[in-house]
């Protein structure tokens, strides 16, 4: 499922044009990025929260050689799933069982 597929569906159900929908979706993603860049959290109720988290430096190992490598501290974008979304997923049960 890609953005284009989503846009098509949203346009179909809202009755808005694909062009406008695509633009709004692009701007939505951009708005999330911009807010992250500003160092803000983006909390979308019922869906989840995006934020940038600081990761401490740590010693990892090269899995091939077993050699220790020092990883520098870094920042990563994380998404924390809301309880509602979690519940929606678990309602549907395990797909493998």
């Amino acid at each position: 499922m890609t953005k284009a597929d989503l846009v098509e569906r949203i346009a179909n159900s809202t009755g808005l044009t694909k062009k406008d929908t695509a633009m709004a979706v692009d701007h939505l993603i951009k708005a999330v990025k911009d807010a992250l860049r500003e160092g803000r959290h983006i909390e979308i109720r019922g869906f989840g929260t995006f934020k940038v988290k600081q990761r401490k430096s740590r010693t990892a190992r090269n899995p091939r050689t077993g050699e220790p490598v020092q990883l520098p501290p870094r920042k990563v974008a994380v998404f924390k799933v809301s309880k509602e979304l979690k519940d929606r997923i678990s309602e549907n049960g395990l797909s493998g069982s």
């Binding site: 808005l16 709004a24 997923i89």
Partner: protein
């Protein structure tokens, strides 16, 4: 006031586009619902340059209650995973932290 909500996003997007707020809100609502539905169907969603949402299976495991040391059975479950894309990873590295300081690199603005 570091947190941005859905309403803030709607405002920002509507300002950038000449779109009515009502439409923006409708699109955003549908967008989130579609993503949720797709995830519920175990489909993976890919947004180029932003990231991927997918469902990952977690095997059952035995954990320990750190307070009592008791063994607890954690059942198998499925979790929603977001994997940031290349562009988002780069962006995160460049983010200014809350106190307005770059934590890595030499561009510290303390003073």
């Amino acid at each position: 006031m570091a947190t941005i909500t859905k309403q803030d996003l709607v405002d920002r997007i509507s300002d950038q586009l000449s779109c009515r707020k009502l439409d923006t809100r409708k699109i955003m609502q549908r967008f989130l619902e579609e993503i949720t539905e797709e995830l519920a169907k175990r489909n993976r969603l890919e947004f180029r340059e932003f990231g991927v949402f997918e469902i990952k299976y977690r095997a059952p495991r035995k954990a320990r209650n750190p307070q009592t040391g008791d063994t607890v059975d954690v059942p198998a479950r499925e979790v929603v995973l977001f994997k940031p894309g290349r562009k988002l990873k780069e962006l995160a590295e460049r983010t200014v932290s809350k106190n307005g300081r770059h934590e890595n690199g030499s561009t510290s603005l303390t003073g």
